[in-house]
Every structure is written in C-alpha cells, then in structure tokens.
C-alpha cells in the first residue's frame, strides 16, 4: 500500500478557490484523488467543481467530511497559520505546497506541533504521490508508474527527472515524497527513509538531496545502521558558489558546511550508490535492482 497516502486518503484543500489551489485541486481530482473538502475563509456553503463542499475552517471540514489529509496553497504570509489550523483540527497528514514561508514562521509552527500527532510535509514542496492511487500536489501525474521504488527529494523538478528516468525504463514507484527546499521542514530525508524501509511494498529507494544543512548526512547514518534495501542518491549543487542561496531557501553552503562533497562522502560511506550526474539517477538505481 506504499506510504502515507493511498486510495483511502480523503483530501482537504486549503486555499481551494485561489488560482493555483483551484488548478491543482482539479488536477488531483482528475488523477483520481478523493478530494472531499475545500477551505476558503468566508466562502462556507459554496462548492468547488459543483461537488466539493467549501468550509470556512479546517476543523469544520474535518468534522463534516472526515478528511485525513490536507494540501495547502495559502499565500506565504498566511501559510504558517493554515498549517497550525490543520494540525489543531487533528488532520493526520498536512502537505504545504506554498513556497516562501519566513523561517521564523516555520519555527513557530514546529514549536506548535510538539506533542501533536500530525505529520507535516513541506513547505515549499511538490507534494506526495502514490502512483495510480493518490496524487496530492503539483507534480505531473502522467510521468509516474505504480511500482516498488520509493523516492524522497528536496527538489520538485529534479524528482520529476528521477521519476521519468525510472518510468522510461519500466521501473515504477511506490510513493514519491517531496519534502521541500526550506531549511526548516516537517518531514526530513531520514523520516521518509524510515517510512520506506518499513513499507513492505517498497523494495528500493532514491534519495535526492542538495547542498546546505546536514539532512543527507543524517539519513546516510540511519541507512548505514538500519536499511538493508538498496538505496541510490544524487546531490545537486556540487558546482554552486559558496555563500549564495541557490533558489531554495535551504540550498546554501555557509561557513564551509553543507557542501555536496561532504554529503557524497557520507552517502558512499553508508554504501549508497551515488549518481554522478542528474542524468544517471535512473540507471544508478536500475543497476542496484539487478
């Protein structure tokens, strides 16, 4: 059944009447995702696409529809509040697509979430997809293929690249999780690896990282100790100049820390097959399956 999302996922979309929210809510529905509710404050009583009820708050949506996951498209100044509202409503899985949340806001969110049971994915991420069953996010659905490789990534389009390389080879995916490019996020590389490791439907994994922070080093340490399934990886940003933020808020080498070289060394030390270039992600994993 892959991880986190499947046919039984009942999705709420926060910010469903906005331009991006509406477009992607529709595309998730087209993929077959069960979108059961939307939230836009002040629009209670309306419907989306003639069938999805809209509520003012997440807790109303939860009470009325039993939604167990939410996809957030609320603009950056209000996104932290939207996450906390969803967590407060007890929604099990909160996926924040919004890019551009201030770090201070995310620190408040993390403090708020302590002791609560919801899982946050993102922010600044493409979302999560279990091919053929449930798509929550902005990824193009058609490139995916149901299968047994789990993918976790800090980058959206680079994930599509990996997925495409696998699907073109006839290798399908169990679940693809985009954890987002921000320095403080809800689900880490290690968290996702743990989920895949415990999932009987996942046979192998690809981890896509980038410069900045130590998330990949921590995942490598975990893999070295606990993971028997084959893992391939790629780290983007080997040629990025130090001290510059490469688009993603979290992608920066500062004070000599967070370099691609240090990450690759940790990955190799953990017995992970590292792709030399982003064009080799699929082939690197394919070799492990033989």
């Amino acid at each position: 059944m892959a991880v986190l999302v499947d046919k039984n996922t009942r999705l709420l979309v926060q910010g469903i009447t906005g331009k991006a929210g509406a477009f992607h809510a529709k595309s998730c529905m087209d993929y077959g995702t069960n979108v059961v509710a939307g939230v836009t404050p002040g629009r209670h009583g309306e419907t989306f696409e003639g069938k999805v009820p809209i509520f003012d708050t997440s807790s109303e949506a939860r009470k009325e529809t039993g939604c167990n996951a939410t996809m957030i498209f609320v603009p950056p100044p209000f996104a932290a509040d939207a996450i906390m509202e969803a967590v407060d409503a007890g929604i099990e899985l909160v996926i924040c697509i919004t890019e551009g949340l201030p770090v201070m806001d995310m620190m408040r969110v993390k403090t708020f979430m302590k002791g609560k049971s919801s899982r946050l994915i993102g922010p600044n991420c493409p979302g999560i997809i279990t091919p053929g069953a449930c798509k929550i996010g902005i990824m193009p659905g058609y490139i995916h293929k149901p299968g047994k490789v789990g993918i976790v990534s800090r980058s959206g389009t680079l994930t599509y690249e990996a997925v495409w390389q696998l699907s073109s080879r006839g290798i399908g995916q169990s679940t693809c999780i985009g954890i987002g490019g921000d320095p403080i996020n809800g689900t880490s590389q290690t968290d996702a690896i743990k989920l895949f490791n415990e999932d009987p439907e996942t046979d192998a994994m690809i981890m896509i990282g980038e410069i900045g922070g130590t998330a990949e080093e921590e995942a490598a340490a975990y893999i070295k100790q606990y993971v028997k399934k084959p893992v391939a990886a790629f780290i983007a940003g080997a040629t990025a100049p130090p001290g510059r933020r490469m688009g993603h808020a979290g992608a920066i080498v500062s004070g000599g820390k967070g370099t691609a070289a240090a990450k690759i060394e940790a990955l190799l030390d953990a017995g992970i097959a590292v792709a030399h270039t982003p064009a080799d992600m699929g082939s690197t994993l394919a070799k492990l399956l033989k």
Partner: protein
C-alpha cells in the same frame, strides 16, 4: 540581503544596542560636521561598500586604504574628499572595485578586549542559537577548528526568547565581571530582540569590544535577512543598495526571477531550483562552465520567460544558451512562447539548445519547430549538456 555597516549601526541603535558614536556622510562637509559633533581627537573614517578587506584596499586613484584613523575634523574632511566618488578595490571586490558614495565617520574606540557574539538560525535544533567566544576580531571558523573549547553555544527557544539567565551564562562564559556583565546581558537581549523582530538569518558581532573606559560595544556587525520575510520589513528593503549587486541579478530581480550570475559561458534557463543546480552540475561534468543559475520557477509568465531570456542573451560572456524544462506547473508551451518573444526583441547570436519534457511538451515542441528558429533540440539532460558544451566550444 546584505546591508552596509552604517545601516547595521542605525538598526542596532534603534534596538538599543550600544555601538560607538558615529554617522554616515555623503560629502566632505558633512563628514567634517559629524566629526565635530562626535568631538575629541580619536576618529575613524570608513568607506561604505559591502565587500570586506577595506582597510588594505587601494583606490583606483592611487590613494591607499578604505579605513583611516584621524585626529581632527579637518583631517576627516581631507580624507573624505579623497575617498568619495572614488573606486575602491579590495581582495573581495575583484579588479573592477566598488564606487564609494558614503562614508561612516565614527569615534575610534580604545579596545581592552575583543570578543565574538553571533546568533544564527540553526537547522539541526530548528531554533536560533547564540554562539559566543572570547576570541574576537579573528576568523571564527578557525577558532572553532583549533580551539572549540573557546566557543559557547546556547540554543534559544524561539517562543520564549533569550532568557536573562541564558544571557548571563553567555556573559560569564566570556569572562565578564561586575558592571560589564550587566551591560553585556542588556546588549545580548537587545540583539536577540532585533534578530527576531527583523527576521534575521544571521547576526554576527565581530568584534564585540570591551573598551578601556569599561564599556561593552558592538564594533562591527554583519547581518543577513531572510528574503522570504522581507515583505514585512519595508524598512530593511529600503536599505538595499543595488550598486553593490551584479547588474544581471538586479535586472532579474525586477521580474522576480531567481538568478545568480556566475563566470562561465553557458547560460541556462531551468524550472525548479534543484534541477537548475543539477543542470549547472551536469554542464560542468560535460566539460563546460555555467554562466548563471536561473530558476524561472513554477508559475512564471510568458513575460518573465521573455525577460529572463533577454538577460541571458545580452550577457557578453555567453557562448551558448541551454533551456532545460521539466514541466510540472510550468507548461512547456509557455516557455516556448517566451523564448520566441525574446528572440524577436534580442538578436540571438549564440547557439540555443532546448530540452523540453513534461506538461504540454508536444505543444511546446511544435511552437518552436514552427517558429523557424535555429534550435538544437536535445532528448534528455545528458544529451542537452553535451550539445551545449559542444556548441559553446565551437565543436
């Protein structure tokens, strides 16, 4: 975003952080007037540019040094006239140097001891962390490597802020006593308030000094601000000095494009930061050098794509342009249309390599094919990089 030394000083004063007396001047007359206002004969004049190494820099006029000690307002005026409107070259500016439009005139402090104090946003603890050291005025990375025991770390709960006991603990770790401890505690708390209120990602005071007169002062400061939070800080946005930035980046920022100038000759236009970085990597792997990082993002309009392409095409170092798009939110036909629009405005003199995949790929490819533009099309990422390098080297 970076700010000038005098701006950092203004900000610190606003938050009650003790700094040496001083103000910014734009003319020699202003400089003299500020020197008179400060009084005394211990004065310093400092060129205001973002780059480091100012003291050892040289002006293109031949005048040496971007920082000078002076003993009278008349001398300040004289130095100011030699520095303003001149270009200062330091080891960080590159040979082209930076134009000096502003000077900081301040009292020169008599230093008893130099210390280090910083607040950073720590990813591991997901909290702000205070870093303090008795070894100030030097490179803290080196201290951290050679004598880690001389560095104190204190994790701060973002919801609670820097508690007085923590500030006291930090002050004691710096070996402070008596009234100096009290001064330091107040200064640390004010700095922390400033860190939170202004959405800093890094606040570094190096050195924090103890003067011979027993005062604790923030002598030099470096701040980085969270770009994502600038929307709620118009006062900090107003500090932006575009003269200090790469003109290509200034142009790109007008259209909300995520662009970073590099020194290679293969320009790239990519959607998504991760793929943009990976494209730079694969260009290098194929033997070329990227001229830039450019993430046109997921929701870019045709106009943004057009502007982005104009920036790439007008870069004189560029010998080939690589467009690498994996459409998710971004639709391939939008990219194609933007590229075609730009090609009408700027004459494209270098080879253009295009690799399209994802949402609306067929429409995008069709548009480009029908445009009659000379395009080298690539099947995948590796092929695109190989063709771009070949085109740039004329092979």
């Amino acid at each position: 975003m970076n700010i000038h030394e005098y701006q950092a000083k203004e900000l610190m004063e606003k938050y009650g952080v003790a700094t040496p007396k001083g103000k910014v001047a734009e003319t020699p007359e202003q400089a003299e007037a500020i020197a008179k206002e400060i009084g005394g004969s211990n004065l310093v004049i400092k060129a205001q540019i973002h780059a480091g190494g100012r003291g050892k820099g040289t002006f293109t006029s031949g005048f040496k040094g971007g920082v000078h000690l002076c003993d009278s307002p008349a001398k300040i005026k004289d130095f100011a006239s030699k520095m303003l409107g001149q270009t200062l070259v330091t080891h960080q500016t590159g040979p082209e140097g930076r134009l000096v439009n502003k000077l900081l005139i301040a009292e020169s402090t008599s230093i008893e001891k130099e210390l280090y104090f910083a607040i950073v946003m720590d990813r591991t603890s997901q909290s702000p962390v205070v870093i303090a050291s008795t070894e100030g005025g030097v490179d803290i990375e080196a201290v951290s490597e050679k004598t880690p025991e001389k560095i104190t770390h204190e994790i701060i709960d973002p919801a609670l802020g820097l508690q007085p006991f923590q500030a006291l603990k930090i002050a004691k770790s710096l070996g402070l006593k008596g009234d100096l401890t009290k001064q330091a505690v107040k200064l640390f708390q004010n700095l922390f308030t400033m860190f939170l209120k202004t959405d800093c990602s890094l606040l570094e005071i190096n050195p924090l000094v103890i003067t011979k007169e027993n005062k604790v002062l923030a002598l030099d400061a470096k701040f980085n601000f969270d770009d994502n939070a600038l929307y709620r800080h118009p006062e900090i946005v107003a500090y932006r000095d575009t003269a200090e930035e790469d003109p290509r980046e200034v142009e790109a920022s007008k259209f909300s494009l995520n662009y970073i100038g590099l020194d290679g000759n293969i320009a790239c236009m990519v959607n998504g930061a991760g793929l943009a970085m990976a494209t730079m990597d694969i260009i290098q792997y194929a033997g070329g050098k990227p001229a830039n990082f450019l993430d046109v993002g997921g929701g870019a309009s045709e106009q943004q794509v057009t502007e982005a392409f104009k920036i790439l095409a007008s870069d004189k170092n560029v010998k080939a342009i690589l467009v690498n798009i994996f459409g998710g939110i971004m639709k391939c036909d939008i990219i194609a249309q933007g590229v075609m629009n730009a090609a009408k405005i700027v004459k494209l003199e270098v080879p253009l390599i295009v690799r399209l995949e994802g949402t609306n790929v067929e429409e995008g490819k069709k548009l480009l094919k029908e445009s009659g533009m000379a395009i080298i099309s690539a099947d995948d990422l590796a092929d695109a990089a190989k063709k771009a390098v070949a085109a740039a080297t004329g092979k």
